[in-house]
Every structure is written in structure tokens, then in C-alpha cells.
Symmetry: C2
Subunit: 461 residues, 2 copies
């Protein structure tokens, strides 16, 4: 089939306006969020319904055309960017924007793949419940993308990853078959729980077209503190104390190295409170019980009395809570203003963390003494962003290899929350045990025998 | 290979005492917990290490001998009972009893498959954390069985199923290969999260030999109430109110029909408090904040004031809390004393529940007016145990078919928490969409191409 024939056939399925083939129209779908990867495409297809997705998938399958599914295109591992061949098709779900149902009594919401996360969170909030997925890209990220990448964020400590919130999925398989699993059940324990095949595999096994997401009670009270600690070990001790004393109310436990805070102070009109040479943690608690505020204050006082915390700021209002959060949230932007950097999304076993990171930093400086390490992240779940500010001609590949090798050796993950995409797949295959990558290959072959779905992303062939 | 040669080869791998071949020695492994299924076996193998499991699996694989993995043999769907051919081997994990590590700071425990759940819970409790899996069979159920069946229980409402607590697994594949995934990470988002292939699939894809389980903070305060309500709809309204007002502290929300409570009163020296013609709910809250007791009392008072609850008992002590729980826990035993029954482990969408159950009861009585329905369960997560007390020569198969058909039609599950095993596999295949069973078949063939691992359980071939 010639390109023109393919475009005609696609238009017959989803209408002419939904098939983009001009370079200018396709451009925004062909580069990843960070601008690291630039692809080409035969066409960008924008179906508006599950039936259209099914028809397009069957067409591509029959024609042997590889399909790259795409949501809000905010991924940080280029899992939704096509290769440079121009033979692949981008399947954008952005027109599937129906919130099919919000049911606060059943504590669930049913949304199509293209619904923007922030919008969905607001709809749920209006219904008196909470959709506890808190990621920086929520203004563009979509339900399909969040599910397909198993998005994390700053509330994982309390509510888990996106995977833990998915009750049911509707998926279109590579040959166009529709798996209708939009279950509204909290408990369904019938053999293989197949939805986990499609969560976190970045559209390499099937295209998520809609999801049932579990909601949680909306806390009535929250409290936030910004505390200075001596270092990462002290932060880990403080986390242990918070788990014991604050229990289920602990919602976020973020850590920031002094350098990360100085970056924010340099590039924004913000002065993070406390001694600028100290590490800091940002702790949030939230509860349906108003007593959480007093319990939190007692916790902070006890931590000060025990010398775990050197000084701290307890937010006195919602506005001040947001201000303290904005310090943490500005680190990424401040880093971007400081120049070129390499980002790593690692997790480490909590008790090995301080030592492993010291060793990594020492090794990095041996590689290139001009490097500066920007360290911050979700200590509460062992996930740190270990970003390296580069000097001109710093050895990029060596830096990432060094970090990934040492993280793997320490029992950590080189992809704590961002996913493998095309950015980390090769390193994953290099470092994971063969028995593990073999399982991934077998599942890929079982569900996508022709390898036409998002090749080169998430799963090895 | 003759049977005697096989036994010799197995003894060479795991020692002579670990290979049982006499009928008397094998008997306890060949009948399921409920005594519904009676199998035979070539041998019962009891390896004491992962290496021995691997060696035995390779031996069976090479000889084409089917393997039935078994934990504490407390499953309610006969997933661990061999068939009657005498050609299968039972692989009991009961000798793998090491708790490899308890780490309260990292909030995790690493235990081998044969560790008894109650023992593990106590070990974790001593370390100041909570392993939140609460099932009636904890005195015999093992870690391997709990993971392989994705056990539920009465705390799922708050903490999720076992699946939600598994951080890592060690698994032996059909050909003896060892998958070492004993990760200590809360966040590890690298492509296919393969551990979900082995959770809930009852050993039909691989044998779980050890698991890393996530722990949670141990609440310092709990409160329990036994409340009478007008019926299932009122109970559902009360659940909604509890979610809104008690939020994250809600730990259990159990419902019991009047008949279930009368059974307990008849067969035990216990008088459930309140009007015996009313339904009852048992609610438990628990928190790290002591204020939960007052909030709970206010909630009960508000429910009484709004007329949602007709009368109630709030436990004044731990002993009274346990007494109230024992009413709920005695239903199963009271039912057994009342005569023969058929058990169904269903879940239904919360809002369809009251109507669906009325229709099912009406249809059952049309089938056989002597039947009595014993209804109780975990309303908080939509999971009810719909058991039917039989009269002589009641049409057993028709009763189960009727219930399963109607539950499936209402969007429910015929296996909410007990699993498919061999008891429900045929009904699952009959009622599930073909696209879904096709996925299960493809995964089974990909991981167990010879079909030698627990055939006829959990997954269709």
C-alpha cells in the first residue's frame, strides 16, 4: 500500500481532520518533552473513539506499519516519540476526552485516555473525593499516558503508584481486538490480572483507551513543614520517626540537598528558610481527623528536641504550605536555568542510600571534577532524582553509565518512576538479569508477535 | 523413567526424607481444605531451599511430569490439589520457613514461601510495624500461598490485596530457572512489572519461593462498633458516610444479614447485640492519632441522629472489640454446623449490589424454595460471601450456575478473593469475554509452553 492509499484508508476510519500528514501539523508529536529525541512519521492519527482506535490498529497491523501511541507527550524517557525512519505512525489519544463517569459513592472515576490529569483531579475534587496522583506535568499529562507509564509523583509514599489506583482498563490490542475490562470492582481475583500487562509498559503491548481509577477520601486537614537536617542519614532517621509517629497521615517526605536549594535561591526570588549549608526535608501530613495538626506540631518539636532537626518552618496557612512546596517544585526549573544537565531517576534501598550516593558522587568527580550533583526527590519511597550539571564537553554517556551501573549494583532501580522509554531501555537490558529480560521478551512476543506496537520502547524484543 | 527412578532422582536433589511416596504420608497433601476435591500423586516433594526447588522443577520438566505447588493447603478453590490421575507431583513449600530479614526502617520483610502468615505477622509486630494481611486461615496459610493466590481478607478496604504489598519476588520457572527479584524498592518502574504474572495465578506460571512484603505503620489506637441498620442499602449509605468522615482511618466495614447473625446465635453461646431482625455492620477504625476514638464516636452519634443506624454497640475495651469481631468470625463455623452449604465468593459494583442480591435470592427460591441464603462479607470493598444452605437433593450445580451467571451479568466477579483454582476455572472461562481468556492462554503458553505447571488451575490452556 502506498502512503497515499494508507492515508485514504485511515481517513475512512476516523475522518479526514483526524489524519495529519503535513510536517508542520505533525511537528509537535515528533519531539519528546525534553527535546532530546526527534522522530519522523508517516502520519499522526487522532482517533476520537475506541472503535476508531480499533479500526486504525487493524489497518496498521494489516499493513505492517509500526504504531507509537502518545498521550500528553510529557514523558521523560521519550516513550512516545517515533524513530527517525518516517515509517512509523503516531497514534495520539488526545481527542478521547470523555469523563465517562464520576461515582463518589463507589469511589471511582471512568475516563478516556485523552482526559488531562489536572482536569480529572478537579472533576473528582468537585465530587468530594481525591484522585491521588500528584505529578508536575498534570496540566498536560493524560489518563492514558499516566496509566501506560505507571506515573509516580510526590504522593506515592501514601497512595502508591498509578498502578495501585487502576481498577479496570479498556485496551486495544495490536490486531485491533478490544479488551473491555472497565470493571468497577475493588476486588476481582480471577486468575491472571491482565491489566498489569498494560500498566507501565508504555503502549508496547496494547493501547489503553480508557481506565477506571480508584478514588480515596479527601482529607479535611493538611499540614506542611520545611525542616533542616544534618544530611541524608539524618533525613532517613527522621523518616523512620515520621512513619512511627504520624503513621497513615504521612503524605509526602521530600528531601533536598543544599546545592538544590541554592539553585532555587539563585534563579528565583525565593530564600529557602534555614541554614543554607544544611539539607532540607519537606513533610506533608493530611487526614480526615483535624487532630493531625497538633500531632504534626508535636512531632516537629520532638524531632527538634532529639536534635534530628536543626531548625524548621511549620506552615501557618494554606498559602504558606503552597509557598514551601514551591521551593521543592522549582528545583527542576532552576536546574534548567543553570545550564545543561543529565537526569537520572533512581531508587535505592533506604539504608544503603547515603553510602551509595557518596560513592557515586566521588566517582563522578573523579571522572570530571567540574561536575555538580543536584540531588533531590521522594525520600519517603526511596526515589531520588540524581541530576548532574555538566561542564562543556563533560562525558555524558560515561556519567550515565557510571550512575546506572552503581545503582544496579546497590540493588536499586535505574527507572524509579519515569519509565524506560527509548532513553533507558538499552541500559535496562544491559543491567537486568537475563532471566528477567527473557520474561519481558516472552510476554512481548505473546501479545505483539509482529512487534508492531511501540518497538524499541519499554520492552526488549 | 520409571516411578522408582524418578523417586531416586528426586531424593538425590533434596534428600530422602523430603520425598514422600507412601499413601499415608501423602494423604494430607491430596485433599483440599474444604474436603471437596481428592487427588492422587506420584510423590510429594518437600524441598528446603530455592536451589532444591529449581532442581526438582528441572527434573519434572525433563520427565514431563506435571507439578502442583502447595503452601499451607488452606485455599478455598482447590488450587493446590492434584488431579486423580496419580501422574502429578505435589511440590510442598512448607519446609522453606526462613524469615530472611525484618527491616522496620525500610518498612519491609523478606520471607520464604513456607513461613506461616501468623508467625510472620507476630515477628513484624515485635519490630513495631504491621503486616496488614488479615485472613481467617493465618495460622496455617503461608507466604507463598498468600502471594500466589493474592489473598484478600478483612483489611483490604484500607490496605489493598496481597498484590499491593508485594515489593519483590523470587520465583522458580517451569524449567527450573530462578527469577531473583527480591527487590527492596518501593518504586521500580522499569517496563513490565513481571511479579504481577505470579501473584494470583496460583503457581500456574511459576513457583514463588520467597517474597519481599511491604509493611505499614502500626496504628496506636483502634475502635470497633457493631451497628444495626435497616438493610443493605442503608449499610451502603453508612459506608459512604464513613468514607467521607473517617477517611483513611477506616480499616474494616463488614456487613451481616439477619440470618447470618441468627446462625451464630443458634450455634454459639453468643447473642449479637440489637434487634435480631435487622442487618448489622461491624466497623473498625485505626490510626496513629489518638483522636480517632472521639471522631468515631461522633460518627456513630451522627449516624444514629440521621436514622441510618437504629442502635449500636461501641466497644469500650480491646476485649470487647475482640468479642464484637468474634460474632463476624463465627459465621462460617456456624454455617458449617447448620448443615451442607454451597459457598460463593462474589463482588458486585456497590450501587447495584442491593438490587442484584434481591434478584438472585428470588431466583434461588424459585429454583428450590427450601434454600436459605447466608449473606455476609466485606461491604467496604464490594465483596460478599453469598452462601446457600442446602436441603436434601438441592440442585447444587444449578445454584452455582445461577449465581455466577447473574453476578457476571451485573458486572461483578465470581472470584472476589478466593481465586479460581480448579473449582471456578470452568465457570470463569464460560463467563469471561473471549478476548480476556485469550490473553490468559497466551501468557500461559509463553511462560509454561509444555503446560506442566499446575494444569487446570487459575489459567486456561
Amino acid at each position: 500500500m502506498e502512503r497515499s492509499e494508507f492515508l485514504t484508508a485511515a481517513r475512512a476510519i476516523c475522518g479526514p481532520a483526524a489524519v495529519l500528514s503535513e510536517p508542520a501539523d505533525m511537528a509537535r508529536f515528533l519531539t519528546d518533552w525534553r527535546g532530546m529525541f526527534h522522530g519522523a512519521a508517516l502520519a499522526v492519527l487522532r482517533p476520537a473513539s475506541t472503535a476508531e482506535v480499533s479500526g486504525l490498529m487493524r489497518l496498521c497491523h494489516d499493513q505492517g506499519i509500526a504504531v507509537v501511541p502518545q498521550g500528553g507527550n510529557t514523558g521523560l524517557a521519550a516513550g512516545a516519540t517515533p524513530d527517525e525512519s518516517g515509517h512509523q505512525v503516531v497514534l495520539s489519544l488526545e481527542r478521547m476526552t470523555a469523563v465517562r463517569e464520576v461515582d463518589p459513592r463507589a469511589m471511582l472515576v471512568i475516563a478516556e485516555a485523552g482526559v488531562v490529569l489536572q482536569h480529572l483531579r478537579e472533576v473528582v475534587d468537585d465530587a468530594g473525593r481525591l484522585l491521588p496522583i500528584a505529578i508536575a506535568s498534570e496540566g498536560s499529562a493524560t489518563v492514558g499516558g499516566v496509566v501506560s507509564t505507571n506515573a509516580g509523583g510526590s504522593n506515592v509514599l501514601r497512595y502508591g503508584m498509578t498502578r495501585d489506583l487502576v481498577l479496570g482498563l479498556e485496551v486495544v490490542l495490536p490486531d485491533g481486538a478490544i479488551l473491555d475490562g472497565l470493571r468497577r470492582l475493588r476486588k476481582d481475583n480471577a486468575g491472571l490480572d491482565w491489566k498489569h500487562l498494560f500498566i507501565g509498559t508504555e503502549g508496547a503491548l496494547g493501547v489503553v483507551t480508557a481506565a477506571v481509577l480508584r478514588l480515596v477520601p479527601r482529607p479535611s486537614t493538611r499540614a506542611v513543614a520545611f525542616l533542616r537536617v544534618a544530611g541524608l542519614s539524618a533525613a532517613t532517621d527522621l523518616l523512620d520517626m515520621a512513619n512511627t509517629r504520624l503513621g497513615e497521615t504521612l503524605t509526602a517526605f521530600e528531601v533536598m540537598a543544599p546545592f538544590a536549594l541554592k539553585l532555587v535561591g539563585t534563579h528565583f526570588p525565593v530564600r529557602p528558610p534555614g541554614d543554607p549549608e544544611s539539607w532540607a526535608v519537606l513533610i506533608e501530613v493530611a487526614s480526615s481527623l483535624p487532630g493531625v495538626s497538633d500531632a504534626f506540631m508535636e512531632f516537629v518539636e520532638a524531632a527538634l528536641a532529639e536534635g534530628l532537626v536543626s531548625d524548621g518552618t511549620l506552615a501557618a496557612s494554606e498559602a504558606q504550605s503552597n509557598e514551601l512546596w514551591s521551593i521543592r517544585e522549582r528545583i527542576t526549573e532552576a536546574e534548567a536555568r543553570a545550564g545543561a544537565s543529565l537526569k537520572h531517576d533512581i531508587s535505592l534501598p533506604v539504608d544503603a542510600m547515603a553510602r551509595s550516593l557518596r560513592e557515586i558522587e566521588t566517582a563522578l568527580l573523579a571522572l570530571d571534577p567540574r561536575l555538580r550533583v543536584n540531588l533531590f526527590g521522594h525520600l519517603g519511597d526511596g526515589n531520588l532524582h540524581l541530576n548532574v550539571l555538566l561542564a562543556p564537553e563533560s562525558p555524558r554517556a560515561d556519567i550515565t553509565t557510571l550512575i546506572h551501573d552503581r545503582v544496579a549494583r546497590a540493588g536499586g532501580s535505574i527507572s524509579a518512576e519515569h519509565g524506560l522509554g527509548q532513553y533507558r531501555l538499552a541500559d535496562y537490558v544491559r543491567l537486568a538479569p537475563d532471566a528477567e529480560t527473557d520474561i519481558a521478551r516472552r510476554v512481548k512476543r505473546a501479545l505483539d508477535p509482529d512487534g508492531g506496537l511501540n518497538p524499541g520502547k519499554a520492552l526488549p524484543m
